[in-house]
Symmetry: C2
Amino acid sequence: MTYCVGLKLDAGLVLLSDSRTNAGLDNISTYRKMFFFEEPGERVIVVTTAGSLSVTQTTMARLQEAIDDPDSDETTSIMQAGSMLQVATIIGATLHRTCREIAEQTRELNQQASASMIVAGQRRDGEMRMFLIYPQGNFIMATEDTPFLQIGEHKYGKPILDRVVTPETSLADAQKAVLLSMDSTLRSNLSVGMPLDLAVVERDDLRVSHRRRILEGDPAFMEMSAAWSAALRDSFGKVTI
Amino acid sequence: MTYCVGLKLDAGLVLLSDSRTNAGLDNISTYRKMFFFEEPGERVIVVTTAGSLSVTQTTMARLQEAIDDPDSDETTSIMQAGSMLQVATIIGATLHRTCREIAEQTRELNQQASASMIVAGQRRDGEMRMFLIYPQGNFIMATEDTPFLQIGEHKYGKPILDRVVTPETSLADAQKAVLLSMDSTLRSNLSVGMPLDLAVVERDDLRVSHRRRILEGDPAFMEMSAAWSAALRDSFGKVTI
């Protein structure tokens, strides 16, 4: 399992992913699930992934291969695509092809091989965009009404986002919101685990403005988690029914 | 879908259920999912149900039929059973038989017909007990370490329970906790809906000490919900990362 969340705000994009993968409960590993494609000043794309590792790794490798291919053009390379919509289309097509191929290979094992992704970014003179891409390659966009997208184990961490995130939320508050959302998920689902990858892309900055890896036992994260628990219990004491 | 939660505390039992059922998104109805079996001073049993309505209604009808049968004994009637463990065993067997029969009938439609239940109560000179009964008829018990059980859409409402519920929680706080847990679920899953049924069984009271139906637009519930949202946002403002 996995938990990734992305916010598209007036001030910029905020993404957070965990890094636990597991094949059964007795085979647990750490893999980064956040990927950056950046040409500072020109374009910035952040991708987070959830699902079968074989699908996501192959998809990411194919995207990179297309970027490196000297014959690539705006229909195959996400670094040449003319819009974020085109970026999402390329990633969707690559993801779908990979899902289909691996599903074919593993059919006789009756195993699932699927993945979904959050893709966010901006190119020069373009709008900031954030997409949730499904295994079939189609996608939806974050909007004013729904400024956040989630993949993987999304339920535990949704109530806090529902309550505090609007397009006007500041980037500082947004980072806090995604970290608290992750904190609730980490507590409830063993298959979501540290370290965490956090990225912020400020509007029109056209680069990854800020990135941070939060390791197990990170003092600031632990302090925030404890303070939030204390604040929740405190609030709980004050509410009456 | 459904959300039911039960707490087994030192001070007593607290149960809450929603009442929405749906067959698809365009066929929504209200059905009570909380049932009482009571012989005041002798025994009290509260059952909440999640799953296929045809399974839960048939199961409840069969339990009632066994109670009313003049030939019933402690192995067939939950009102004669010698312990709460025996009550859970009878309900588990009835539920499993019903699930199996209906699954058989609907097999050619390739439809799911399954249900699970929370069963809580106490009989004179016995301990308070709370069970989660699976469609297969087996069950688990609430314990000191895990004083709450959930069925149905359990994820959205779990973080608040994790943080505030311990065996020492008072019955007043427990009612608040289950209502806030339900509130988070109602916001996130359309297939969970008002009205709500709330029941409290105080330790050794051997009756339903307190029951309440909370209707759509209930002023106290709405006020609590708004106060909790405000308190959460307030807490959010105070936590730093």
